[in-house]
Amino acid sequence: MSDVPSSAGGEIDTDEPDGAAGVPDADDAESGSLDLGAGGPDVGEPYPLEVENLRKSFGGITAVDDASFSVERGSLTGLIGPNGAGKSTTFNLITGMLQPDAGSVTFDGEEITGETPHAIANRGLVRTFQIARELQEMTVLENMMLAPKFQRGEALWRSVTPGFRDDVIEQESELLERVWAVLEFFEIDHIAEEYAGNLSGGQRKLLELARALLTDPDMLLLDEPFAGVNPSLERRLLDHIHELREQGYTFLLVEHDMDLIMENCERVIVLHQGQVLTEGSPDEIQANEEVIEAYLGGNV
């Protein structure tokens, strides 16, 4: 038991993320920072995710056409582009849900092109979905307990054999402490026993992010995490993301809301017709004629 850093209340690094990207930690003094009790993100390559010449076509349509970009460690990088630019396909190619026709994806210096989604997730590259995909008929706690990687009790024989099951139970209580810590961090502990299907849209988004975090990832790919979320909850989600980024997590974010991207991301990658149109800081992107043209169809 003692090897588990005692969950939430434990070590709060008191450096509140003040100032940084204007995070007002107004309503909650309680949820300080988060210790997942699992070491947090690794520190390795300066660019954990590198995508090179990625290509994917569906029939006659080339959804991703020779896209290359990289994401800097510890950054909050935005991936934008008009509808049909290939953002979701790129996500699916990176996370193994689709196989690319050509090109490569490198994560932490190792090529992961063509690996299965679960293998990629186990490497620490975890995604969330555009439409929150909570596991409806499971409670919030069950949803959360599912996420941690390589649980002992995931081996059937160990879960049913008397004697060995004690190990499983022991790990379950350790995990539960971590789960409570994360639920409290995201302020959804009051709905812990609720079926996930009964949550509001925003709560589902929080649950999805919290669940992804419990897999102990190094990098998170968030597919439109703010779609259908009300402004105050959006603020809360953003605060959490900034806080996690400060702890060293890397984020790649697909989002439609340009203002939100420009205010919050350090780097922005613009996709257009399956290709990387440009990348740079928000200021550079906003001043870029090509981007404006891509978004507004050249009518400016």
């Binding site: 003094a29 989604p117 997730a121 706690l141 879960s159």
Partner: protein
């Protein structure tokens, strides 16, 4: 929902209490109706033995199906095929060697019954693996098509002349083909008690039953004792599947049922989990098939028609997919009310009205009702055709359930997929602890 749940909550003993009380009510109903109609004690015992038998086999099968469908969302409609594999492989292994001039056309390998039971169970699991490997890559409905096709392939294989008899290690063995396979191994009860050296004690116990059932009590006692053995197997299935469900393994299965892509993107190798769960369920179906048929004296391939698969599905839907307790209840209620009930009713009415003869067809049955407003012939005709009408009743019950309670008796209940309870009381404990934590203290327990 709330009324039933309240009722369930008030029964002492939790799930076990709930199962036992419903069983008790059904047994009481059977006995009371029997007493009311003047059944002999022997008849009563027989009724109870047969009822117990069907309750147990349907409970076992519903439990196994619940692992597939209720937990993992695997649409298996080939249950009966796995049962057939189980009993046929068991018979093949355990039947004595061929003796010319014996009743049996073909022999087996002559190994002990327990070896045969294990072999049959393992064979069902392996066939499950073969079916699962190609089908699990596809979406749910394709698994359904593959499984029902498999169950028919199994039936036709055992019907075929090629497998009827052949030579293995110089012995004449086989599966008997369409004329069936005589199960001429030792009586399983005798083998069981003999193993512990208790066979003589058992025979003494049988003799003491002569007080209640004067002549030849052995078949009656055998039936009752075998029923009890089957109930022990139900308890073992329940124990195993409850542990399976209440574990990280069960949690992944539930996640696969809800959304496989999510489970995958959280790093779970869902194909492996699905194959393991599918094989375990198939093994249990094979074992249930063995237990259903090994005392029946003979098996024919045409027993294994898909209707038994659908009976098991009805049992699971009544009980509530996703709940192990519900599966047992569903199996019991299905066996007592829908499967055995109508036949029992017919026997009782035949016994009570020995002189009433039913009309031979629908015409003669309906004519008196139209001409003299006399419903008796129609009623008698209905009761006489009760076996055929049984399927109609089952259909009506299903339709009613789908409209009024699609989740079954216990389907929507929270059976938490974790090794420890995940409840709000812990939430309060934890909150207290972390409140202490934020103010600087470490509330270690």
């Amino acid at each position: 929902m709330s009324v039933r749940d309240d009722l369930a909550a008030r029964i002492p003993g939790g799930d076990t209490g709930l199962i036992l009380s419903i069983l008790l009510i059904m047994y009481a109903a059977y006995v009371l109706v029997g007493v009311g109609l003047g059944y002999s004690l022997r008849g009563q015992f027989n009724t109870i033995a047969v009822l117990t038998f069907y309750i147990a086999v349907f409970a076992m099968l519903a439990l196994a199906l619940n692992l597939h469908w209720g937990y993992t969302g695997l649409f298996n409609i080939g249950i009966v095929g796995f049962m057939a594999i189980g009993i046929y492989v068991m018979a093949f292994v355990s039947k004595p060697l061929y003796q010319p001039g014996g009743a049996a056309q073909v022999g087996g390998l002559g190994l002990p019954i327990i070896v045969g039971m294990i072999a049959g169970t393992v064979a069902a699991a392996l066939v499950g693996l073969v079916v699962a490997l190609p089908a699990l890559r596809l979406r749910a409905d394709y698994l359904a098509i593959v499984t029902i096709a498999m169950s028919e392939i199994v039936r036709f294989s055992f019907l075929s002349g090629e497998l009827q008899q052949f030579r293995l290690f110089g012995e004449r063995v086989g599966f008997g083909g369409g004329s069936g396979l005589i199960l001429d191994f030792t009586n399983p009860l005798e083998a069981f008690f003999g193993f512990f050296g208790l066979w003589d004690a058992y025979l003494g116990f049988v003799d003491s039953f002569q007080v209640l059932v004067p002549n030849n009590p052995k078949p009656v006692v055998d039936g009752l004792v075998y029923g009890v053995v089957l109930l022990v197997f139900v308890a073992a299935f329940y124990w195993l599947l409850k542990r399976t469900g209440e574990s990280p393994f069960g949690r992944v299965l539930k996640a696969i049922r809800e959304d496989e892509d999510v489970a995958n993107s959280l790093g779970k190798n869902t194909n492996r989990f699905k194959i393991k769960a599918f094989m375990l369920g198939c093994a249990l179906m094979g074992l249930a098939g063995i237990l259903w048929l090994m005392t029946s004296g003979a098996v024919t391939p045409n027993f294994f028609r898909p209707r038994i698969t659908f009976f098991v599905w009805i049992a699971l839907i009544i009980g509530g997919a996703g709940s192990n307790t519900g599966s047992v209840l569903g199996g019991a209620v299905f066996a007592a009310l829908l499967y055995q009930g109508p036949r029992y009713l017919k026997n009782l009415i035949d016994a009570a009205l020995p002189n009433a003869s039913a009309p031979s067809g629908f015409g003669p049955a309906i004519a008196p009702l139209v001409s003299n407003v006399d419903p008796t012939p129609l009623l008698l005709y209905t009761i006489d055709s009760i076996r055929q009408l049984q399927l109609v009743f089952m259909g009506l019950v299903l339709i009613w359930l789908m409209h009024n309670r699609p989740e079954g008796m216990l389907g929507h209940r929270k059976e938490t997929a974790a090794g420890i309870p995940l409840t709000a009381s812990q939430a309060r404990d934890k909150t207290a602890e972390t409140d202490g934590g934020t103010t600087g203290g470490e509330a270690d327990e």
